[in-house]
Symmetry: C3
Subunit: 159 residues, 3 copies
Amino acid sequence: RSGEMAKLAQLIDNDVFRAYATYATIVLLKMMLMSLITAYFRITRKAFVNPEDTASFGKGESAKKFLRTDPDVERVRRGHLNDLENIVPFLGIGLLYALSGPELSTALLHFRIFTGARVLHTFAYLIPLPQPGRGLSWAVGYAVTISMAYKVLKTGLFL
Amino acid sequence: RSGEMAKLAQLIDNDVFRAYATYATIVLLKMMLMSLITAYFRITRKAFVNPEDTASFGKGESAKKFLRTDPDVERVRRGHLNDLENIVPFLGIGLLYALSGPELSTALLHFRIFTGARVLHTFAYLIPLPQPGRGLSWAVGYAVTISMAYKVLKTGLFL
Amino acid sequence: RSGEMAKLAQLIDNDVFRAYATYATIVLLKMMLMSLITAYFRITRKAFVNPEDTASFGKGESAKKFLRTDPDVERVRRGHLNDLENIVPFLGIGLLYALSGPELSTALLHFRIFTGARVLHTFAYLIPLPQPGRGLSWAVGYAVTISMAYKVLKTGLFL
């Protein structure tokens, strides 16, 4: 048992893997924040989608009018879905990349740029910034993931 | 080769990692069930979104009337998306947490509470239960994930 | 440090793990392609959802008419969401399956069928092919994931 634990510890003690663990966790926490922002806008804009969520506003028509879409709520939800679409590939490809033996400095560059790009993307979406702010921040994160995928396939291709 | 296999076996033989593998698989199977429930409601409520899905109901207007949204279908789909938004962070952060050397009992507590909370969330969404049933089950899973993220960052922060 | 690196190298050098890394990366790249196809249809169909995305088409009513939904855009988006719903379970369960010590030939069979099924699913969705083309390709990928989940739970169940 303690031998196995030591083996696992070696994985988490590896610098590249620790960097991956750090940035993957940060970017997932950022994504989870979108749920809180959605809830915040649903409550302040009084815009809900489930009838049981408006029960506290009274019965019948008085509650029903809060079952509506709100532009701010929908905007956060689009940002959240865009996070899912882009952070899931980063998680999967990034893990394999971290295990493919990259230079620490190169790996840090990938992880930091991706994380920075996704934080910028969220600000660009929620403020919102004029285009191409959101488009560029999306593209940078996308390009970083492609670059890591290339390294993974170059190192370990096994079809 | 057999040496490598032994090395991998050590990973899957580690108790914390096995517990992670078990609960991650269970919670993913639960999420996959949402696809079947969506299909069930689409077929029983005759509410489809793709024209090619209604071709067996005849041509023209007779089929077109089944291209519609249905409250039950939309409810399951919201539950499915909420699963994605919450289970993806659990998968990523939970894996890193399992590799960060937690006590087995503490790890089991995290995995079991998260899995239980997500099962409750699904029931709360589909029945539906009055609020704050769904809200609380969502918050418990969210808090468990935050707790695991804290452990990962405390153990292995590498910025 | 070099000892740890060697340990990691053993993981990526393992044939089953390399096969997982290869197919997981391919299927994630395929999913990422959906973002580009969505962008392509949004631009060619001039159908946007964010006001800031139509600013280059002029101001006021002239730009506002491009804030609309388009059947082709919505179709790609549904395919993208279906990818997320099915590829996330494959990533998580597939990783655990790869670590559960399957035969290389069995593992390759699972990974190849899943990847082929998801590529077919995308073509079936985007062309679109008549049903049950899309339904079958979805079901095949689903069944492969269930099969891997069964192996994971049989090998390492720890509740």
